[in-house]
């Protein structure tokens, strides 16, 4: 099939299958999946600028489906999602400016690559330790079946640090009843979102692999709610990114629409799958994602080919 906007010939079945895989990951982990979509489009000969912009447009559609499904399961905190969207957009703008400054200094690729490797690897190691420790301590406890809203409250080995962060009293303090948080500083939420946005602007993609763990470990949001709320937040921030990229001529919406047909089914499977896994198990299975991201960056550093 010929896509005239990006001047590329791509098999629509290939696009739908890529969308399907990303849909499953997005629905289950609350990530955009740009670390797969970008390279998958590049492999088909789509120019880098179109790959980035088109991927964002596809993320919007996939996240709408997954967020709607998560909302029916009670996994979306709208208030938190809207607040985080503000911080994310601000952070993404600063991250993009940082990239421009590094471009002028002439060492953008090296700096961004090394930052990405350290961050991705750090997240993977930390989550492996935390979810492993939590699962071990859960096994030692007597197994108790908890039903209803309480079942979404999951324990974390990092819990004491999270509680210390929640006790920081910087006005204004707000309540997040949907996430079960009585009081937290607005600035803590904005800072977490800003850092996620900063990495999104700096490293590209939606940076869900940074934001989702930050929501769990820093803000103390239960994992299921962090996944659903992150998707809702991605809808807003990726829409903003899609519009700015479309104005710059970086979006082939026809490719995004075809990819999205596969993502719809994948996202629904991913969302349903979260119901069968406890928070620590979702966090443990999240570990390979940042490692795949790190492996892609190492590959580009070693070969000089940008996937």
């Amino acid at each position: 099939m010929f896509f005239p906007i990006s001047n590329a010939h791509i098999n629509p079945i290939y696009l739908a299958v890529v969308g399907f895989i990303i849909g499953i990951l997005g629905g289950f982990f609350g990530v955009g999946g740009s670390f797969i979509a970008g390279p998958a489009l590049r492999l088909m000969g789509v120019d880098w600028n179109y790959a980035v912009g088109t991927d964002l447009a596809h993320i919007v559609g996939k996240s709408i489906v997954a967020a709607r499904q998560h909302r029916t399961l009670g996994n979306v905190d709208l208030k938190l999602g809207l607040l985080m969207a503000i911080g994310t957009i601000g952070g993404a703008e600063v991250g993009a400016q940082l990239i421009q400054a590094l471009k002028r200094a002439g060492n953008v690729n090296t700096v961004v690559s090394w930052v990405a490797i350290v961050v991705y690897f750090g997240i993977a190691v930390f989550m492996l330790w935390e979810s492993g420790t939590t699962l071990q301590s859960d096994r030692r406890r007597s197994p108790q079946k908890i039903k209803g809203a309480e079942s979404k409250k999951d324990r974390s080995a990092f819990g004491p640090v999270t509680q210390m962060i929640q006790r920081i009293k910087i006005w204004p303090m707000i309540a997040l009843p949907t996430s079960g948080i009585r009081e937290i500083s607005l600035w803590t939420i904005l800072l977490v979102a800003f850092v996620g946005g900063l990495f999104s602007g700096f490293l590209g993609g939606g940076a869900g692999y940074i934001r989702m763990p930050s929501m769990v470990y820093v803000l103390g949001i239960p994992t299921h709610l962090a996944v659903g709320t992150d998707l809702f937040e991605i809808v807003i921030s990726a829409s903003y990114g899609t519009i700015t990229h479309a104005i710059k001529g970086n979006v082939d919406i026809l490719i995004a629409l075809v990819m999205h047909t596969g993502a719809v089914v994948g996202a629904q499977i991913g969302v349903v799958a979260t119901q069968y896994f406890a928070g620590p198990k979702i966090r443990l299975s999240f570990v390979p994602l940042p490692l795949i991201g790190a492996a892609i960056v190492v590959y580009t550093l070693m070969t000089g080919h940008k996937l």
């Binding site: 709408i64 899609t242 919406i253």
Partner: protein
Amino acid sequence: MKKGTAKSLRAFAIELAVYSVLVICYFFLVLHLLGDWLYRLESQHRYMYAVVAILLIAGQAVVLDTVTTLLFRFLRGRGK
């Protein structure tokens, strides 16, 4: 339990088959008709294109989500 899983998988396989047919029709009809218009819009009216792009992807998300949910509910209902 196993019987329930088998039923769910069967319903999902039928859903996927029906959905694939719908999607193939969609590829050839809608995208073929929209292709030229979107290409001209992208090269001549970038701001309008940005608005249309976001509306198209959001609209498709809502429509396809509703279609797959209804399809799945219908097939599950018939299975029972």
